[in-house]
């Protein structure tokens, strides 16, 4: 088995840790922007905080992908091929519905990016069903 090479999707505690750090940085930045009075420098630091968490997650994701075997890479490729366009279609649809007045105008569009990981996970499920 390739678990010894860190090849199994289950064998990546570093990736899970990076996901957790990114999530915590998002929650912390959202909370601080909402409840704290921030100056120009501290406000910039808080605004950049999730990007730093995201960069760490990206680094771990690339590291993880490079350790996958050929079938696992194929699954990831198909997941992205499904997830990316699906997320684009949904984002465009929601954007047009929002600006067309069909969705509540108070709706916060900042959190729409969350659709992307959900679409990617959907892609992973579809690709895994095909091969595994």
């Amino acid at each position: 088995m390739n678990e010894s090479l860190g090849c199994s999707p289950k064998a990546s505690p570093r990736l899970w840790a990076a996901s957790l750090i990114f999530s915590l940085s998002l929650i912390a930045a959202t909370w601080m922007q909402k409840y704290l009075t921030l100056g120009r420098v501290s406000g910039l630091a808080v605004a950049v905080l999730p990007a730093a968490g995201c960069a760490f997650l990206l680094f771990e994701e690339v590291r993880y992908m490079r350790r996958l075997d050929e079938l696992q890479k194929q699954i990831q490729l198909e997941a992205l091929a499904i997830g990316f366009p699906a997320a684009m279609v949904l984002l465009v649809l929601i954007g047009f519905l929002h600006y067309g007045g069909f969705l509540p105008q108070k709706m916060d569009l900042r959190n729409l990016w969350l659709l992307a990981p959900f679409c990617y996970l959907l892609g992973v499920l579809i690709a895994r069903k095909r091969y595994l």
Binding site: M1, N2, E3, S4, L5, C7, S8, D69, E70, L71, Q72, Q74, R130, Y131, L132
Partner: protein
């Protein structure tokens, strides 16, 4: 593409996990190969052939429309 991977593995009395370890892939990949859900790359096919000491064409057989 059809293959004789399951038969050859059984002859060696190896588990899927054992074969996966010898080939440096995941157990799921061996299962997908054996069930015909996934065709290996050329390097992996040669690695399998070398491991079992047989020519590639003795392990992998193309579908009827490719023959």
């Amino acid at each position: 593409m059809k293959n004789r991977l399951r038969v050859l593995r059984a002859e060696q009395d190896w588990s899927q996990a054992e074969l996966a370890q010898r080939l440096g892939v995941s157990r799921q990949t061996i299962n997908a190969l054996e069930t015909g859900k996934y065709d290996p790359s050329l390097p992996l096919a040669f690695k399998i052939a070398r491991l079992f000491g047989r020519p590639v064409e003795e392990i992998f057989e193309p579908d009827a429309d490719l023959r």
